[in-house]
Symmetry: C2
Subunit: 343 residues, 2 copies
């Protein structure tokens, strides 16, 4: 099946993929000859195209139309044909500036990154924040809000804050809250949030605690504070894909928008993108997002100062500008990692 391709066939495949990416229209032998100045007649090109079709790299929507790359065609193109563009100085500048200006905390930076990815690529930008529960515990604090309400604030070492309003049956004097904070801060020092969660469970069953109501209440409160909130996902620039001609048909768009509405689902799907290092490319049905939609996904991981790992990338139609988007995603992931690693 995987017969070696002649050099010429590869050239022609590349030409077709690129033309199709540029125009969104089936490309015929004529166009290839014209636009790419190959020293070949259309008839020859047609022969080659027939071959490529037989190999499953191209299809034609109907007899007398040009050819369109198949997923397999895109795959080959991405794997061994595409000439990656450099990320331009302007793009780099924009990216850096926007990240810096975002300022406020990890999540702010990530949201802005998602926006910028979208505007640089002209597709949708995607960022999955590093899992809070894998981050290292830093501090817990209780603040009284009402007579029977306590706000638990949980800070992780990369500066992410999770807060939770807890109804308490009884009233807590201020001194108790402070004591509880001290006890818990000591208890969880150096653990990840998920380890801390476990430790709380264990600790609750020790004898020492059973006889100390303050500790017990402290653990009860903190148990709620470390409750898993689910991770944060930013998808920005949805409007931009309306510009893509393939989504002129309303039905397909609905699918996509629906998919993005429950981010919980999305997150699950994206999990497997997190497993590997470097830029990952998922074309059409390879992508974890629905086979129906004809979308591709380009992602890369990034790491924070506390070594938790997040995901960022771009979502667009299979007919995506791979040559420019791949480097952008790659560069952005590196940049974000670097920014977050700063002391």
């Amino acid at each position: 099946m995987d017969v070696e391709l002649s050099n010429r066939s590869r050239q022609i495949l590349e030409a077709i993929v690129e033309d199709y990416i540029a125009t969104a229209e089936p490309v015929g032998s004529g166009s290839v000859a014209r636009r790419h100045a190959l020293p070949l007649s259309t008839a020859t090109i047609r022969n080659v195209m027939a071959n490529l079709e037989e190999m499953g790299l191209l299809t034609s929507p109907h007899t007398s139309a040009g050819r369109v790359p198949t997923e397999k065609g895109y795959r080959l193109y991405v794997d061994s044909l595409v000439a990656l563009r450099q990320v331009s100085r302007d793009e780099k500048k924009l990216l850096i500036r926007r990240c810096r200006d975002a300022g406020s905390g990890l999540l702010g930076i990530l949201r802005e990154t998602s926006r910028t990815l979208s505007s640089l690529s002209n597709y949708m930008g995607l960022v999955v924040a590093p899992s809070f529960t894998e981050d290292v515990f830093r501090h817990i604090e209780f603040i009284r809000i009402g007579t029977h309400k306590v706000l638990a604030i949980l800070v992780s070492s990369n500066g992410t804050v999770q807060n939770r309003l807890v109804e308490t049956g009884t009233e807590f004097p201020l001194s108790d809250l402070v004591a509880m904070g001290n006890y818990l801060n000591e208890l969880m020092e150096g653990l990840t949030i998920s380890q801390a969660r476990q430790r709380i469970q264990e600790e609750m069953h020790t004898e020492k605690v059973q006889y100390d109501s303050l500790m017990l209440r402290a653990l009860r409160l903190s148990e709620q504070a470390v409750f898993d909130e689910g991770d944060e996902v930013f998808v920005e620039g949805q409007a931009r894909i309306l510009d893509q001609p393939e989504f002129n048909d309303v039905g397909r768009m609905k699918d996509i928008f629906r998919a993005f509405e429950q981010k919980g689902l999305l997150l699950k799907l994206l999990e497997r993108c997190m497993s590997a290092d470097g830029v990952q490319i998922y074309i059409g049905s390879e992508s974890p997002l629905g086979q129906s939609a004809g979308v591709s996904l380009i992602t890369s991981r990034f790491v924070t100062s506390s070594n938790t790992v997040g995901l960022l990338g771009v979502i667009g139609p299979t007919r995506m500008g791979y040559s420019s988007v791949i480097p952008i995603v790659d560069y952005t992931a590196r940049l974000v990692s670097r920014l977050l690693a700063e002391p």
Copy 2:
């Protein structure tokens, strides 16, 4: 201009508006006679329709089509014809359950409210969180993250938390952070966040502070912490409006999605909805959101325990199910106010 309408004319206008809302198609004299069992011939109805058109309450898209309500027509319908539906027991239950389950804090509840509004109405749900800066200061706290980074956490009396990572030139010993916290908590007690901001400015220029570097540094830090973040807006259920036939045309949708992408802009537009009490209805070009798009907006205010005020509502096409959406918005606003007021 505002000639009294005969009872019959009103009936017919109501019929037309409701039919059009139900079918999204121009409604002709025949349909009115059929569906509403009026004891009138089509010819008579046609005469009345011609009148209504002259008054600017209806238009026809072309000569031989039925009639469609104008904005003025909708207005009249909403103001004096519509028979408001009751909010059903099931709807109430759903709303209450979802709000309670949302749990975690004000913003969590509001986001869920927005979702629920969308699923009850089948249009887009909208919630503008009460302005943080008008809420009463409760607590400020500093936590060391890196050697040169301090996380400032600011809590308001309705339990909303704002946190901000601040780069500090010098290193802060823990004891200083505590002292600074105490000083600031005392300074800002009982003020709203925006008053607190002002107080900080004033305090910085007093002599007392000029000679106490700890206080000065504390004020500098807190100045950044109370920096305005802009308010939070939740728009949920965007995919749902894709079901509306009027948005089958892709161009119009783009406008809408674009509009919602920068929520900052949106917020400004919504400000004037906050001024009045009770349910506000903005039809088509009356709505602060773009004249182009043919959308209507139904909003109502809600209040929190600390008397700050937010906005919630529904956005849909002008051809919206007013009779059911208006009560839903009204009920939801009351419900949310009640839930948030709980001790």
